[in-house]
């Protein structure tokens, strides 16, 4: 199963086909259903005026945002799993996701006037989320400083810091009068509701700026799978690489979370699925992982919009319903493997 072969057309077909069909399907699903053939016609620029309007102005920004956010989270998850050499790590476990949540809530709280409207542009929200994520990551790094060589401890520090962030979020949701609690809750659970092209452009720019860096490091990433001493023997600065990858993880996670909310488990499931498909070579995994992450968020978004329509479920809850059992399965498999 874990073949090291890169180009096998049948294997590569799966993620690309899944991604593209979900993209079309997600664009079609909504208050008015547009059939895939009409979506494709509209995407090609030949649809009816109504279809063109719905597809290009209403649906596509949201779909692109979901896809790009998923790609960011999935890539972040893969880098973190390699960095910590723990296949069970994911950005949410390090507390980064909750930290970004605190950033956004503080932003909404401090910069809203008495009428609950923001006094600055909403465009600053991602900056607040990134600040929250970075500060949380720094906090974890501060505690874990001496234990940087022990990834397991890093995870424990992350869980504790995440708990702090979570309780701050809870307190905010309950106490801050500016929030209608349900709005805040939906953001926290993850949602790509009401997306604009500008949002998708920002996430897209950041993703395509950060992802090539990961690609450039793919050879070092492969070496880092070895144990510390062997990796050092191949001329690798393990700690520097680990720091660099964690920095990338934080940046990617912050980008995604600030726009699509706290969607969990994508960073955990997508890299595993990708490695099951194309093997362990980072170069290939890094191409497939974002595709699968995007597919996962798109699928979750479709379910979230249709399952309880007209009500909209949080995307993050759907990914958790799928991701959590899969995680448990991985955990059991890994423990059995270790014996």
């Amino acid at each position: 199963m874990m073949s090291m072969t890169g180009w096998n057309i049948r294997i590569w077909f799966v993620p690309f086909a899944t991604f593209l069909s979900l993209l079309v399907l997600a664009t079609g699903v909504g208050s008015s259903w547009i059939s895939p053939s009409r979506v494709i016609t509209a995407l090609a620029g030949y649809g009816s005026d109504t279809d063109m309007l719905i597809v290009w102005t209403l649906r596509l920004p949201r779909v692109m945002l979901a896809a790009l956010g998923g790609a960011c989270l999935a890539t972040a998850g893969f880098l973190l799993q390699r960095a910590l050499r723990n296949p069970l790590a994911s950005p949410s476990i390090l507390g980064i996701v909750d930290g970004a949540g605190v950033g956004v809530l503080v932003f909404l709280w401090l910069l809203s006037d008495t009428a609950n409207t923001l006094t600055v542009s909403i465009l600053y929200q991602p900056i607040a989320a990134s600040l929250g994520a970075v500060l949380t990551a720094l906090l974890v790094a501060f505690f874990a400083w001496r234990d940087f060589g022990q990834p397991i401890r890093l995870i424990l520090y992350g869980i504790a810091v995440a708990a702090i962030a979570k309780s701050i979020v809870t307190a905010f949701v309950l106490l801050a009068p500016v929030f209608s609690a349900s709005k805040a809750l939906i953001w926290l659970a993850g949602s790509v509701h009401a997306a604009k092209w500008s949002d998708a452009m920002i996430v897209g720019t950041l993703f395509f700026a950060l992802w090539p860096i990961a690609m450039l490091m793919s050879r070092q990433l492969d070496q880092s799978v070895l144990d510390d001493e062997t990796a050092v023997g191949t001329g690798l600065s393990v700690l520097a690489l680990r720091g660099c990858m964690i920095a990338l993880t934080v940046a990617l996670t912050a980008t995604a979370v600030s726009f699509i909310g706290a969607v969990g488990f994508v960073g955990l499931v997508a890299p595993h699925a990708a490695q099951a498909l194309v093997g362990l070579r980072s170069k290939w995994v890094l191409i497939v992982t974002p595709l699968l992450g995007a597919s996962m968020v798109l699928a979750a978004d479709i379910i979230a919009r249709t399952a309880a329509s007209p009500l909209e479920l949080p995307t993050g809850s759907i990914t958790a319903l799928v991701g959590a059992p899969y995680f448990i399965y991985l955990l059991i498999r890994q423990a059995r493997h270790d014996q």
């Binding site: 949701v173 309950l174 993050g316 319903l321």
Partner: protein, 330 residues
């Protein structure tokens, strides 16, 4: 010094002081004479009613829930031989909370007794799931993996809870406060039923001291000492889960007491469970009272949910213990 601080008489005095403080302090602070008058010669005045029917139940809830959760955590740690086990981190609290929200939001159950039973069912099901994962993974499952399983199951329960809340906005606001965990404005009738049960169960846990000591040796030794290990594991985990579930029914999911109290109790070195159990219960009650008092002041005049205060207090303590290698990971 630390041994003296952690001795039972000192802790009991400390709890008594905190309990008295928690009757005095709050949005409206009271003079000692008013408090005494309200407790012993209730005269129907507003002050008297506030103290006797709001402050006192709250103090009792804090003590009962704190002690019970701490003991529940200790039992889980002892049985699973895992110093990270705790009803909150293992997902038991979240499972119990999910069952309650399910009953309330989907099936429209409003009787407190039925909801308490649901909470117990939810906690037991979650514990079963966590334990099932642990058994399926085999005996080499590391403490960290068990904890990851717990955190994941908690996330699963939380997201299902979230879906129900979003589908049923009517009950949402009330549920949100309960879900954050807190001791204020709890149902006094329910407290009257659950508090005695919690106290009784907390005291009964003392009977398991020798058993826990035996189980803390390796499996073969425990077996040699005449302990039916799987059966006892099952019995003790059930006991600990029910304890946690009752706390959830009463005060909502309150995390970290079960984790922190045993670690603080162990600061004086390794000790037998005979000493450890009462000490942990007392430390849990004290932590819970402190958190409840702090909750009244951090964002005054509003109240912070105690669950949030405990996480804010407990997580840094946990971080400190981790850094000082006070938490055994293997």
């Amino acid at each position: 010094m630390i041994r003296l601080l952690l001795s039972s008489p000192v802790l009991i005095v400390f709890i008594a002081i905190l309990a008295v403080l928690s009757l005095h302090l709050g949005y409206r602070p009271y003079a000692t004479s008013t408090v005494i008058a309200a407790l012993f010669h209730p005269n129907g005045s507003a002050d008297s009613i506030i103290i006797a029917s709001l402050r006192l139940p709250r103090t009792i809830t804090a003590i009962s829930v704190g002690a019970a959760l701490a003991v529940s955590g200790l039992l889980m740690q002892g049985v699973l031989r895992n110093q990270l086990a705790e009803p909150g981190l293992l997902g038991v609290n979240a499972g119990a909370a999910f069952a309650v929200v399910l009953g309330l939001g989907v099936f429209g159950i409003t009787s407190f007794l039925s909801l308490t039973l649901l909470s117990i069912l939810g906690a037991l099901a979650t514990m079963g799931l966590v334990f099932g994962v642990a058994s399926a993974a085999g005996k080499n499952l590391s403490p960290i993996s068990l904890m990851l399983a717990g955190v994941t199951i908690a996330a699963l329960a939380a997201s299902m809870t979230q879906i129900i809340i979003i589908l049923d906005e009517a009950t949402m606001q009330a549920l949100l406060f309960w879900l954050a965990g807190g001791y204020a404005d709890r149902n006094v009738g329910l407290l009257g039923v659950l508090a005695p049960i919690l106290w009784l169960m907390t005291m009964c846990s003392y009977l398991t001291a020798n058993l826990l000591d035996a189980m803390n040796t390796d499996r073969d030794t425990a077996h040699g000492l005449g302990v039916d290990v799987p059966l006892m594991q099952f019995a003790l985990l059930t006991f600990a889960s029910v304890l946690a579930a009752l706390c959830v029914a009463l005060a909502g999911p309150v995390a970290f007491i079960g984790l922190i109290a045993p670690h603080i109790a162990r600061l004086s070195g390794r000790i037998a469970h005979r000493v450890l159990i009462p000490r942990v219960a007392l430390i849990g009650a004290a932590l819970s009272l402190i958190a409840d008092i702090v909750a009244r002041f951090v964002v005054a005049p509003q109240e912070m949910p105690v669950g949030a205060v405990l996480a804010l207090m407990g997580a840094p303590i946990f971080l400190m213990l981790l850094r000082r290698n006070r938490v055994r990971l293997a």
